[in-house]
Every structure is written in structure tokens, then in C-alpha cells.
Symmetry: C2
Subunit: 143 residues, 2 copies
DNA sequence: CTCATTGCAAATCCTTTGCATAACC
DNA sequence: GGTTATGCAAAGGATTTGCAATGAG
């Protein structure tokens, strides 16, 4: 998916922390990860990185277009691989569970609602907040 | 709109800070206010309140259903009067400008997207992030 | 008078920054 | 070797909390 030196093509030196973070996103089962989660996962794999570096790398990746940042409700940013296909998010307010969806009708009306009012819509721009009602859910977000 | 002792009807003692905050929302031209903004506006009107109290009062009002809290992107919560009518929000990422809208088609498909996936949708649940393109805009959010 | 509420300061949480050291090319 | 990136610790902004003093009913 990403060549080993994909980082260079976006103008970033290919350093160990950056490679680690990128492959984590490519390998992780969980698509949306917070800085804290990335940090803990890397520590758990025996990699010695600083949390500040994670934040810096995530921001650089976002600016380079490799990742997308979402804020969601709850105060912390989460990141996901930017694989080009547009989709929106339903976020569970209870446990932080995220599901992605795409609805062409919503896309069209959303765009119209925005442009009618003079807004320029962003790519990943639409969020629905809800309760996921999963059996394991009513707990706190597992960070 | 709110009787002077409306607070009692929601189980809150009618104290000075609470009355001040409530009437600020009822009087303010700007519908969406952050805790900091409420604080500064009250100080400016010569009222002596603590910022911590503002945060407490806002949270109590939210729980009492008088206000709705939104997080939006950018790290700070904003509140608006809960006047019962459902609407969604378009938020400018450049200046924080918020416009409300309602689109029945989006409502329906949004609800379907959520329930199809087992989610229970929230009342004020949908956010669109965009750029407002207003002449005064490209600045920072005026807090 | 009694308990809820306030104000202040200190504490938290997430994120950013300064700076000396270490890693890239 | 000259930069750029890292790690640590300290700083930052938003929000919460502990606690003694104040206020409402």
C-alpha cells in the first residue's frame, strides 16, 4: 500500500518513529486511533518513542495528506489513514465506537445545504453522533 | 420565554449567577457561546462571577435541558439555548461561524443510516464542517 | 439554620513547545 | 558533518475539583 520510502515522496525524512506510526495504522485492526492509543500500542510493541513525537508525527502526516484528523466529541483527536475514498462517520457518544458510511443522497443535500449558504464544504465533513447500543458499549471509551 | 423562576421548575435554586447566565443566552445576539465568552460577557456587564461557576452552571443547564452543548472542532465547547426545534449545524473551520439548517431528506436518511447500523441517534446529532467564505472570515475564531 | 452554591486556587487532561542530544543522508 | 528529528520536561489552554466562605429557602 505504501512503499517503504513513501515518506520521502511526501517530503518527510524516513525516520524510525514515522515508519512505526505509519505501519501501525496500516496494520491496526482499529481504524481510528488517538495519539495516546498510538503511543501505547508502540510502547507495547517494544518501540521506544516519546509521546511528543507521536503528536508531531501525526500532525505532519495529516498535513502531508497521509492521515485525516477528526475531533469527535470528547476532547481528543483521532486519526485514520487517508485512503482517498470519501465517507462520513457515525460516532457513539458512550464508547467512542466509530462506523463509516456513505449515502449519496445525504452527500448531495449536504453539499447543497452548505453551498446555498455560501459555505465550501470539507472533504470529511459530516459527523453523526449517536449511541451504538452494542452489548459491550455503555462503558467509557477504552483509551 | 423563561419565567423568572423557571430555574426552580428544573430543580435548580434560583441564584444570581444562574439567572445571569440564562438571561445572557436569551438576550445575546450570538446564539452559540463558549464558557469563556459567557464569562467575559458577564464581567463586561459588571457582574462578578467566577469562571468555574460558569462551567458548573453551563453543565447544570445542559443536564436540565435548558442548553445544548456542542464540541465542534477546535477544542472548546459552545452552548446554545435548547428551544426544542431540531436543527443541525454547519460550522466554519476558519472562524468558528455557525449556521443552523434543517433538511427533512437528510434527517430521514441520517436516521436510516444510523438505525440500519443499530445506532440510536441523538437529537442534535449532525455536524457539517466547512469554510464560510464570509468577507471577514479567514481570521481566527474571535474568542 | 442547614444545605446548596460560589469563588478561588490547585489539579487534570490533552496537546504543544524549548532545547540539548541523537538520527538521517 | 550539517540538518532535521527525537525525547524529555516544562508550558499551555480548556475544563474540573477541593474546600472554606457565602447565599438561598
Amino acid at each position: 500500500m505504501h512503499q517503504p520510502d513513501h515518506l520521502k515522496t511526501v517530503g518527510l525524512k524516513s525516520t524510525l518513529p514515522r515508519l512505526k506510526v505509519l505501519s501501525l495504522f496500516e496494520a491496526s485492526k482499529q481504524r481510528h486511533l488517538s495519539a495516546e492509543e498510538v503511543y501505547k500500542l508502540l510502547l507495547a510493541s517494544g518501540d521506544d518513542v516519546g509521546l511528543a513525537t507521536i503528536y508531531r508525527v501525526l500532525t505532519q502526516f495529516e498535513q502531508a495528506g497521509l492521515l485525516m484528523r477528526h475531533h469527535f466529541e470528547g476532547g481528543k483527536s483521532v486519526f485514520e489513514l487517508n485512503q482517498g475514498e470519501h465517507h462520513d462517520h457515525i460516532v457513539c457518544m458512550q464508547c467512542g465506537h466509530v462506523e463509516e458510511f456513505y449515502d449519496a443522497t445525504i452527500e448531495a443535500r449536504q453539499k447543497k445545504a452548505a453551498t446555498d449558504r455560501g459555505f465550501t464544504i470539507h472533504d470529511h465533513s459530516l459527523y453523526i453522533y449517536a449511541d451504538c447500543n452494542k452489548p459491550k458499549c455503555p462503558n467509557k471509551i477504552q483509551s
